[in-house]
């Protein structure tokens, strides 16, 4: 089992993973856009029954973890979503609310509760203030239970398709990865009603940097389910779909912000969409990425979308039109103030492309993951493509990336390497293990820092070069 990438993910995201994952009370918010794609579901109106209604010992609250029946227990004991509300009572949250000059403390502010505890929005004031109040609960991800609570354990229900379960009973189709990731993203990336912007980050909220496969593998997160709908190539499929779905959510948020930008009080450009560490680093020689990167940007301009789009190309699968659109969007966003409407227009086109791609990837996963999963050779090819994508054609430098991009490429290769073991452990190339483990260490933030202080881009480059060389020569003939 490869666990190396988990620690890194904790470093980049754990503070922010402390409980965020839900869907708004009306699920329509998220799925209004796009037209007729496979991930669009029409949910019935239904009300919430509360997490406790799932907690019967004979249903979801038996002891243990992962095992079917122990979901509620796992959530309470080892899922940070459970504690998403209580963190709002901690001193850092109080400080954030003060700096943002919120009218109410964090645990009463809609801005915070939207993600941290949607059910608390309607809870009586007497209940608030208690650290035991659950944060993101069952129904925030699985849908309001009114219509499925008494039906979902019956045999008839189990025979329904996931679309039927969703549209007739309001059970969210979490087994549809393209839906699931976008649901995670509604908080972990942001959407029209929820976002973590640069003002909030400056006030102390951790940066959001969502990468699906990394998140559900986080050491501090224990899954309460098994991926029974997918085959051994789950990890590789989840990475692809996760990348496109996250990029789709990110660009939808950009569009939303661009359209809102007319009112001057709304921040535009939104600095949270740019590479944090392009600006936030000590300007000392030796720690700069510049010498090891071939960049097509204007020096000193703002690098946009470095987290959500740096590995979008290989995930999209070399569809040139989409790649061009992404590049054009990045170029626009380098100096985005001229005309936000243009950004919104471009972004909308991109969403259409992403949706089509998502539909394609999800259909393929549904049809093949269990019956014809990716073979070891496919996985090997993907790793090779990702390694090549990060570097220039001659392999001497990185191509347009910094810590964000390097980390995304690393996570992508790690996900595939993991998948390779599941698909065919015996053929997995052992030469990749060490550079991946080393990268994990090098990319990690040091203690007491929220940025890659003291990292060594030249050394990181060397490891990527090794990965590139080894994967372009699968049989180790050299």
């Amino acid at each position: 089992m490869l666990r190396m990438r988990l620690t890194l993910l904790l470093a980049i995201s754990f503070a922010c993973a402390i409980g965020i994952l839900n869907l708004p009370a009306s699920a329509e918010v998220q799925h209004k856009s796009g037209s007729g794609e496979s991930s669009e579901y029409r949910f019935p109106k239904a009300s919430h029954t509360g997490s406790l209604s799932c907690a019967s010992a004979s249903c979801h609250a038996s002891s243990g973890s992962v095992r079917a029946g122990s979901e509620y227990t796992t959530w309470v004991n080892s899922d940070p979503h459970f504690r998403a509300y209580s963190v709002l009572l901690d001193p850092p949250s109080r400080r954030i609310a003060e700096k943002l000059k919120l009218r109410k403390p964090a645990h009463e502010s809609q801005l915070c509760l939207n993600c941290h505890a949607p059910s608390a929005l309607t809870a009586p004031k007497a209940v608030l203030n208690r650290p035991t109040l659950p944060g993101v609960g069952c129904e925030d991800c699985h849908g309001p239970a009114e219509k499925y609570l008494s039906t979902h354990y019956q045999d008839d229900f189990k025979r329904l398709t996931r679309t039927e379960k969703a549209e007739a009973h309001g059970l969210f189709p979490t087994k549809d990865l393209s839906f699931r990731v976008r649901m995670c993203a509604s908080c972990h990336v942001g959407d029209a009603s929820r976002e973590v912007n640069h003002d909030m980050i400056a006030a102390g909220h951790p940066r959001l940097a969502f990468e699906y496969t990394g998140y559900h593998h986080s050491k501090k997160y224990t899954r309460h389910w098994e991926e029974s709908a997918y085959g051994p190539d789950f990890e590789a499929r989840a990475w692809e779909i996760g990348q496109v779905a996250s990029a789709r959510s990110a660009v939808a948020l950009t569009v939303h912000r661009a359209e809102r930008a007319k009112a001057q009080r709304d921040p535009w450009p939104e600095l949270a969409e740019y590479s944090c560490y392009a600006c936030h680093r000590d300007l000392k020689a030796g720690e700069s990425w510049a010498p090891v990167v071939q960049s097509s940007r204007t020096p000193g301009s703002l690098p946009w979308g470095t987290w959500y789009f740096s590995t979008a190309d290989p995930a999209i699968g070399n569809v040139e039109t989409i790649q061009k659109e992404v590049a054009e969007m990045s170029r626009l966003m380098e100096n985005p103030s001229r005309d936000p409407r243009l950004v919104a227009q471009r972004g909308k086109q991109l969403i259409v492309h992403f949706d089509a791609r998502l539909r394609h990837l999800q259909n393929s996963a549904d049809a093949n993951s269990r019956s014809h999963p990716y073979a070891a050779a496919d996985i090997q090819k993907s790793i090779s493509a990702i390694a090549r994508h990060g570097l220039t054609d001659d392999g001497t430098k990185f191509r347009n990336l910094d810590w964000d991009g390097a980390t995304q490429h690393y996570l992508a290769i790690a996900a595939h390497y993991y998948s390779w073991a599941e698909v065919d452990a015996s053929s997995r190339d052992p030469r990749l293990r060490q550079p991946l483990a080393d990268l994990n260490g090098l990319l990690e933030f040091p203690k007491l820092y929220n940025s890659p202080k003291g990292h060594d881009p030249a050394q990181i480059l060397k490891l990527f070069q090794k990965l590139r060389t080894d994967t372009s020569d699968p049989h180790g003939t050299r």
């Binding site: 003002d199 921040p267 936030h280 000590d282 300007l283 020689a285 020096p299 103030s337 001229r338």
Partner: protein, 535 residues
């Protein structure tokens, strides 16, 4: 074109023969003819610094010998003017390296071997320059500050680089600050009546009135802060390509460490011996602490230059629809590693967290300089106005990330205008010993407020304040004050005695900036203040 040294010797010979028959040593009173040329900057044909060397070239030149050692001259001629100016500039003043420092060097394998080489490599790959033949040592936007500009004006078209516009041979030499040397000036300034002429008359023949601290500070600031009308602006793109960050500015410190190639007014025996009417031509104010006065004027000028640059650039930004150039912002508000302990730091007053802030150093000591003090007659009106206008400027930066260029332009213009009145206010103050002590104590008080406020304080602001403290304390005590503790936190001298490469200076500056600790600074400043109690 003849090589530089050939022309230099030719010039030396001319100057020497000129001196032999020079009018103002023996001859009749020079006639103070009104020069014909209008006093428009840039209308003079530059004759280049080589024409200055003959007389100002130092002890080894014949002119120096002929003039300074003239028998019977009492007091010695060099009481007023040193005649070693060129020598000092050439040997001790890094302005003489200004062009050399932007000449790219490449190593044998074609890789950049110095900062200029690195900047050239990065800038020529920038999308706007790809495919163009770009050289930092001949690009107009570099030469406006790294050479002598014969036709000062905006860098409208960088493609029309250099050509005849710039004299690149001598870096930032005499003419860059004193004005372009015209035949008229050369002829006239060696006439006996020259010193009696008013600065305005001298300006008409091209000589800029650098004896006026405000004019001088604005001249320094045109490069050391920026001046868009003269095409001088270090953009964020240049910084990103490697240009060292411009340090804060303090007039007396900059003059002292240049080092001075002239006699400071307080040491100028000839000036002191003049009648009061003539002394005014040189802005000499007897019975005043000149350094303290210059510090106050220089502080205002630095702010004025900052506001003018900001206003100019914000105006063109508003037209183009771009973001305000990041060079206007506090570099180190963004450029630092994200320490978790910083999260509990108090934000600066009036600043919205997450919205980049303007470079703050030019505003901090200005508040103290504008304290009512001797300006009691206006009841501190100027200071109150400053506060109101600054709040409005801060708000226009807060509106959205990187500010709203339209309102930034408007507020910065208002502040630049405020500076005109403020200048008159400062000039009304007589910086007697008592008044200097007031200002000194004002700075001390401001520092103790900073301690109790607990708000963010950046290295550059601290450094500019420390420079002011040192300048005033040295003048009050009459002693050169060494303060290793304070010097360790913020370098008190602009550079050491040894000449170091740009790269080395840059590295040590970054060490200072990133090693800066607010509390260590306040402690060291406390110690510095305690070591001397002015009476």
């Amino acid at each position: 074109m003849k090589p530089f040294f050939v022309r230099m010797f030719a010039a030396l010979a001319i100057s020497a023969s000129l001196l032999a028959s020079i009018a103002w040593i023996e001859g009749p009173q020079g006639n103070a003819q009104e020069p014909k040329q209008p006093a428009v900057n840039g209308n003079f044909e530059s004759l280049s610094a080589i024409h200055c060397i003959g007389c100002h070239g130092g002890p080894d030149t014949p002119a120096y010998k002929a003039y300074s050692q003239k028998e019977g001259a009492r007091p010695p001629r060099t009481d007023f003017i040193l005649l070693t100016e060129y020598h000092t500039w050439k040997n001790d003043d890094i302005h003489s390296e200004a062009h050399k420092n932007i000449e790219p060097k490449l190593s044998a394998d074609g890789k950049p071997a110095n900062l200029a080489g690195k900047m050239q490599e990065i800038l020529s790959k920038s999308p706007a320059r790809v495919g163009k033949d770009y050289h930092v040592d001949s690009a107009a936007e570099c030469l406006t500050c790294h050479a002598v500009d014969r036709r000062p004006g905006p860098v409208s078209s960088p493609a029309l680089a250099a050509g005849d516009r710039f004299n690149r041979e001598t870096g930032v030499s005499c003419e860059a600050c004193h004005g372009l040397v015209s035949e008229e000036w050369i002829g006239q300034h060696i006439q006996r009546g020259w010193r009696e002429q008013k600065p305005e008359a001298k300006l008409k023949s091209g000589q800029i009135d650098l004896r006026d601290p405000h004019t001088k500070a604005m001249k320094c600031a045109s490069c050391h802060i920026g001046n868009k009308e003269e095409g001088k602006f270090v953009t964020h793109e240049m910084y990103a390509a490697g240009h060292p960050p411009l340090p804060p500015f303090e007039l007396v410190t900059y003059s002292r460490d240049q080092p001075r190639h002239f006699i400071a007014n307080r040491d100028n025996k000839a000036l002191k011996a003049m009648e009061a009417k003539l002394q005014a031509n040189f802005h000499y104010r007897p019975d005043e602490m000149q350094d303290t006065h210059d510090f106050a004027v220089g502080t205002l000028a630095a702010f004025e230059a900052t506001m003018k640059l900001l206003a100019e650039d914000a105006k063109s930004t508003a037209e183009s629809g771009n973001l305000l150039d990041f060079a206007h912002f506090d570099c180190f508000a963004c450029h630092h590693d994200l320490k978790i302990e910083n999260e509990s730091r108090k934000p600066r007053p009036g600043v919205v967290p997450g919205r980049p802030v303007m470079r703050p150093w030019a505003t901090e000591t200005l508040q103290v300089v504008m304290e009512p003090g001797a300006k009691k007659d206006d009841g501190g009106k100027a200071k109150i106005e400053l506060k109101t206008l600054m709040t409005r400027l801060t708000d226009s930066f807060n509106v959205r990330p990187f500010g709203d260029p339209n309102s930034v332009a408007k507020e910065a213009t208002a502040l630049a205008k405020w500076c005109e009145q403020a200048k008159a206010d400062i000039l009304r103050v007589k910086y007697t010993r008592e008044e200097s002590i007031n200002l000194y104590r004002g700075l001390a008080k401001h520092l103790s407020t900073l301690r109790t406020d607990g708000v963010y304080l950046d290295h550059d602001t601290a450094q500019q304040m420390a420079w002011g403290l040192v300048v005033i304390q040295e003048e009050l005590s009459g002693l050169k004050k060494e303060s290793p503790a304070l010097d360790q936190v913020v370098r008190l001298r602009l550079r050491g005695t040894e000449r170091e490469t740009v790269e080395k200076r840059l590295t040590s500056r970054y060490e200072q900036i990133y090693g800066f600790k607010r509390d260590s600074f306040l402690d060291a400043a406390d110690g510095f203040l305690k070591a001397f109690d002015p009476k």
